[in-house]
Amino acid sequence: MATSDPHWRADFPVNWEDDHYVTRREFTTFLTLISGALFLGTGLVGLRERWRRRRAPHPAAMRIAQVHEIAIGGVKLFHYPTPDDPCLLLRLSTDHFVAYSQKCTHLSCPVVYRVREQQLHCPCHEGHFAVETGQVLAGPPRRVLPRILLALKGEDIWATGVEV
């Protein structure tokens, strides 16, 4: 008999020992505990990140570009503060430069500059950021794009810090 049994029989066994019965109350307890654990876990991860960010040394200023390298409406890719942090430097007008981290705050896809809309656009999940402030305009991201603080020294553009 056992060999000809349909596969669902394994899920609904006649044998008492093979049955893994879960009562509604047990299931509710499980759900509550798991969601509580997830809540605490994400809270701890967030706190740790915040603590680490506060303790992190202020990144050293770095010369990233020269003014004549970028046309108005142009983009330059650079890495700041470490070589693993891709950033975009945008020239909005003659002497108005902004720079943001290129990692979308949703799932870290690289954002691209859309000149016509004056937006930074993440093509992965249609995230849109304002080019002036880095604020989220639309899409799944919830946090602003980290902004790179800039300083203009003569012809040179320096990155002086990251504003999250």
Binding site: V14, N15, W16, E17, D19, Y21
Partner: protein
């Protein structure tokens, strides 16, 4: 310790019915069936407890996964949180054992007094039966005091059912065959003899 039923010894005293109703787990509700074989022609009665099939049909047909068999081979009553009161088991059991209790909207059946037999006691019905129609004990003892032979293989058409509980029959036999179709066409098993 095994259970043996000998309907030929039943005297219809109802002791088993009342003893069953005194069980701790279903007080006031008797799970045993005590039936007249053919009331118009004979006073013969026959007790039916659950035969505890090795492959229980009631559990097989349960759509709510409510009937379970323990490792000892005892088929339990429907699990209360699962039973939906559909009576599939009542219709499917070849021995007519499960009962649908409308007031509770669920099935209950003989569980061979699982609370008692699992700790080595006899089932309630077997402790009170005065004629030995319901016997629970070692097979060797039974064989010494009885002429009848136990059998536990029943053939219902194409379905062969092996049971934990034995039925005592007059002759030695490997299996008892039942002509299900003829039972369906006549209401009385003795009707054909007229």
């Amino acid at each position: 310790m095994e259970f043996f039923i000998d309907p030929s010894r039943c005297i219809g005293c109802q002791a088993c019915v009342h003893a069953c109703a005194e069980c701790e787990s279903h007080r006031g509700l008797s799970m045993i069936h005590l039936d007249f074989v053919d009331r118009s022609s004979s006073p013969q009665t026959t007790p039916t407890v659950c035969m505890h099939c090795e492959d229980p049909t009631c559990a097989r047909v349960c759509p709510a996964d409510a009937i379970k068999q323990t490792a000892e081979g005892i088929v339990q009553s429907a699990l209360k949180p699962r039973c939906i009161g559909c009576s599939n088991c009542v219709l499917a059991c070849p021995f007519g054992v499960p009962r649908y209790i409308a007031a509770m909207d669920q099935m209950m059946k003989c569980d061979m007094c699982y609370d008692r037999t699992s700790i080595g006691l006899k089932p309630m019905c077997a402790t009170v039966c005065p004629s030995g129609a319901l016997y629970y004990g070692p097979r060797e003892t039974l064989e010494k005091i009885r002429r009848e032979h136990p059998t536990n293989t029943f053939v219902f058409g194409r379905q062969v059912v092996k049971t934990k509980v034995h039925l005592m029959v007059g002759h030695e036999t490997d299996e008892l065959e039942f002509d299900v179709a003829s039972f369906l066409s006549t209401s009385s098993p003795l009707a054909g003899e007229d």
